[in-house]
């Protein structure tokens, strides 16, 4: 954490308010973006807001590193009555991740958006983007079950339309967005249903209060079914295997900024909430972990295999990446469902790694698509020579996805296997091995197309992406390499997250 303390200076009065500012900043910024007169102003508002959110997240992370858990009571009412924010190490980690990707995405949108979205829409588009950012940040910070639903919807409602805006490039974005809306809303409603049962059994919505009362309650059908509904509902958002139907279409159809941001953060914040309920709210070693081990883990394993195979047979680059995301969520959930410190911290590490690499990959595809409207693998032939920097960044992301040494993906896979061995779950190791091999196949196919194939005759020649797109892209890809070499920061954050959730004893 010394790194942060060195770069970060802020008045103590602001630090005390940092948790709420992380969430309220983007909300206010969204209104400002909607009010701003031109596309350029909207973009600047977006960048400034995202930078502010990142700054405040860094403040929160340092605070969490110092104190363990940060509580913030809203409205001046003590938690069971009022709503409270509660930020543990995992929440702080995710906020840092989301805010960083948010800032990089906002920078990236300066050029990328103008090729994809009608300029008159930029103000509203940026407003929607900032609302989405605020929603995800609120989701990982809130300490209240119903407040989490509100933020789930804040992040979702805008996103449905943002995905649909991709119709300017590809009209398939529209049915994909509709599908996303149906799935997402059913998921959110299932979540509300589950929270309703927990509320009916405990009488509270505050997660800390709820965990105290659940521990006293013992086994109860309402509570158990409540958890099942919560996990199922969030599982839709997290794209856990049979509930992932919305994801490929949405990621493939959305404007590239939205794809980048969703791929890097959307599923992650839902996974965070699942982890929070299972490990933090439900008593340790109780029904929650059994549910995870017996139901979620096999599904996650199935995802890791089935969706990797689907990715191999896809023709479109973005859909390959999208199916790969579902498979990788399977890996993450496998790590988490081990329910040991090692497994959980490996899962969190993998989550961060996956966010960075998928962000770089989708950003790379978006950067390449600025000059060529390339969609299928064939249309990507030879782009490596025409746009070397973008292609290199894409290649770094792909290498991280495949788990090449010196990238973050390698360390993530390594720690996952170590965690699984430590927990004695050999079948998890086997699944990981098979899944990784399959990953290698489709990643190899992508890289071969880009670097070792001549362009199709008659294909339009690509140009290098503009500077404003290249910088965030290279930073995003660079982070995958940086943390692959010096992983102390994500390592310490994920370990702190895991011990914060289940204690270091186990």
């Amino acid at each position: 954490m010394t790194l942060f303390e060195a770069i970060y200076v802020t008045p103590p009065a602001l630090t005390a308010q940092a948790p709420i500012l992380v969430v309220a900043g983007p909300l206010i910024g969204a209104s400002a973006a909607a009010l701003s007169p031109g596309a350029r102003t909207a973009w600047m508002v977006s960048v400034l807001t995202a930078a502010f959110a990142l700054w405040m997240s860094v403040a929160v992370v340092t605070e969490v590193a110092r104190e363990g858990v940060v509580d913030y009571a809203l409205g001046g009412f003590a938690p069971p009555l009022g709503i409270a924010l509660r930020i543990d190490a995992l929440g702080a980690t995710l906020a840092l991740l989301i805010a960083s990707v948010g800032l990089l995405g906002a920078l990236y949108s300066g050029h990328a958006l103008s090729s994809e979205v009608y300029p008159g829409k930029h103000g509203l588009f940026q407003a929607g983007y900032l609302l989405c950012l605020a929603g995800f940040l609120g989701l990982v910070f809130t300490g209240d079950a119903f407040n989490a639903f509100v933020f789930l919807e804040v992040s979702s409602i805008g996103t449905y339309a943002l995905v649909a805006v991709g119709e300017a490039r590809d009209r398939r974005a529209l049915p994909a967005a509709f599908n996303y809306l149906i799935f997402g809303t059913v998921g959110a409603t299932f979540y509300v249903l589950g929270v309703g049962f927990l509320y009916g059994a405990t009488g509270t919505l505050n997660l800390v209060d709820m965990s105290v009362r659940l521990a006293a309650l013992g086994d109860n059908f309402a509570v158990q079914a409540g958890l099942a509904f919560i996990v199922a509902g969030l599982g839709v958002k997290a794209a856990i295997f049979p509930l992932h139907g919305w994801l490929p279409g949405a990621y493939a159809g959305a404007p590239s900024l939205v794809s980048v941001f969703l791929a890097a953060t959307a599923t992650k914040s839902a996974i965070y909430l699942i982890v929070r309920f299972v490990f933090d709210v439900f008593p340790t070693g109780g029904f929650g972990q059994t549910f995870l081990a017996l139901i979620v883990a096999p599904l996650a394993a199935a995802a890791a295999i089935v969706c990797s195979v689907q990715a191999i047979f896809e023709k479109e680059v973005r859909r390959i990446l999208a199916f790969s995301s579902v498979a990788q969520v399977g890996f993450i959930m496998l790590g988490i469902s081990l329910a040991t410190t090692g497994g959980l911290s490996a899962g969190v590490f993998y989550l961060v790694a996956h966010a960075l690499m998928k962000g770089a990959l989708f950003m790379g595809v978006g950067a390449l698509a600025i000059s060529v409207k390339a969609r299928t693998v064939e249309e990507f032939y030879g782009l490596g020579r025409e746009a070397p920097w973008s292609a290199a960044a894409f290649a770094v992301g792909a290498a991280s996805l495949a788990g090449v040494p010196l990238t973050m993906g390698f360390l993530a896979k390594w720690s996952l296997i170590a965690g699984a061995l430590e927990a004695g779950a050999l079948w998890v190791v086997a699944t990981l091995a098979v899944g990784s091999l399959l990953t290698l196949v489709y990643v190899g196919r992508l890289l071969e197309a880009m670097f070792f194939r001549a362009p199709l005759p008659g294909a339009t020649r690509a140009h290098e992406a503009p500077f404003g797109v290249l910088v965030p892209l290279l930073v995003m890809a660079g982070l995958s390499v940086w943390f692959g070499v010096d992983s102390s920061l994500p390592e310490s954050l994920s370990r702190a997250s895991a011990t914060g959730l289940i204690g270091s004893a186990r």
């Binding site: 308010q17 709420i20 309220a24 909300l27 206010i28 969204a30 209104s31 400002a32 909607a34 009010l35 913030y72 009571a73 809203l74 409205g75 001046g76 009412f77 069971p80 009555l81 009022g82 709503i83 009608y118 829409k121 509203l124 588009f125 407003a127 929607g128 609302l131 605020a134 609120g138 209240d144 119903f146 407040n147 509100v150 933020f151 919807e153 804040v154 409602i157 805008g158 449905y160 339309a161 943002l162 649909a164 805006v165 249903l193 049962f197 509320y199 009916g200 059994a201 405990t202 009488g203 509270t204 919505l205 505050n206 009362r213 059908f221 309402a222 079914a225 409540g226 099942a228 509904f229």
Partner: protein, 354 residues
């Protein structure tokens, strides 16, 4: 307990629920889309009546305004735009959903078996936090309507989120329908049909009344059912009625779409701004007790709201009022944005008063 009164209320509850089940079955059964939409409106009205029986006056008001009003209008508007044929029914398509629904339903029945009996005053849900609100509101907030107190103050952050969700919906609809080739076509000149005199006269009479009623609902929210959200929807009815009777073109000339979107953003800013002011005065976000600096609070005459001997939580009163105004601004302008979106897409032969 007087058993007769309770049993009568329970019988009413059962009757209304059975009615709802019948309406829901009809919605599932009918092949006509318009019939399904209207039945959905009836369902909302019936559930609003049921909500009154359940003592949820505020929710009933909202459900009547939103479910029976806005939702029905939006659904009908979309139906006009897509001009669908009858809904096709294929029994093969129905098997998998039926199995799924039966499975989920069975899980739900299992789940409710773990809940306390209906109406039990000592159930966890009613005994813990819910009861604390009833006990604490007179001291903490000092307004009669506990639902408003919880909505705007104790759980004000949720309400901020709710306002933002509405704002996001406005953004979404504007992104989908507010731009594009068709909406920018010049509107056909309005031809005032001489047989619409009744409508025009009534509308002229009603629009100011509607606006007045909206503000009544807004300011009455502290004392009874009502508040910013319901008031916002009612306020939005005024321009919508104007557009329906006098033509969309006349309304957008008076209230441009861009202005309406700006007001929606402004509402969120007002709400969040109240929170920031509380923060700047040394409290937490949305801590209305710190809304005024002590110096300012001392200047408020004690008899402003009647009884001067009673201690007033001025910060809470004004904070709640301000955030309700923010909600009103966002909700009403978003409703108008949604209406503009759908109505602006319409080809002119479906305009209603033309």
């Amino acid at each position: 307990m007087n058993a007769i009164a309770l049993e009568a209320s329970f019988a009413l509850n059962v009757a209304l629920l059975l009615m709802l089940v019948a309406i829901a079955a009809a919605i599932a059964w009918t092949r006509s889309l318009v019939a399904a939409i209207l039945l959905m409106g009836v369902y909302s009205l019936a559930s609003a009546v049921w909500l009154v029986v359940m003592d949820a006056a505020d929710v009933a008001f909202t459900e009547a305004v939103v479910g029976a009003g806005v939702s029905t209008v939006v659904l009908l508007g979309a139906t006009l735009l897509v001009r669908p044929g009858p809904v096709r029914v294929d029994w093969r398509r129905a098997i998998a959903p039926a199995v799924l629904v039966v499975g989920v339903g069975a899980l739900l029945v299992l789940a409710v078996s773990g809940l306390a009996s209906f109406g039990d005053p000592s159930s966890p849900a009613n005994a813990h936090v819910g009861r604390s609100y009833l006990v604490e509101t007179p001291n903490d907030i000092g307004i009669p309507n506990v639902v408003t107190a919880v909505l705007a103050s104790y759980r004000g952050f949720d309400t901020l989120g709710e306002t933002v969700v509405i704002f996001a919906a406005g953004i979404g609809v504007a992104l989908m329908l507010g731009f594009g080739p068709r909406s920018s076509l010049p509107q056909p000149p309005v031809q005032p049909g001489e047989h619409h005199v009744v409508l025009r006269v009534t509308a002229r009479l009603l629009i100011p009344l509607i606006i007045l009623f909206a503000f009544y609902v807004l300011f009455h929210g502290d004392l009874g059912a009502g508040g910013g959200f319901q008031a916002g929807v009612i306020l939005a009815v005024a321009p919508i009625l104007h557009a329906l009777v006098f033509g969309l073109h006349a309304t957008t000339a008076a209230i441009p779409a861009g202005f309406v979107r700006g007001v929606a953003a402004l509402g969120v800013l007002v709400f969040a701004g109240v929170g920031v002011v509380c923060m700047a005065n040394g409290g937490g976000f949305l801590d209305y007790d710190r809304l005024f600096m002590p110096r300012v609070e001392a200047m408020i005459p004690p008899g402003l709201l009647g009884d001067p001997t009673h201690s007033h939580n001025w910060g809470q009163h004004f904070g709640i009022l301000l955030v309700e105004v923010g909600v009103l601004l966002t909700v009403s302008s978003t409703m108008v944005t949604i209406f503009y979106g759908f109505a602006g897409r319409a080809t002119h032969d479906v305009g209603s008063a033309r």
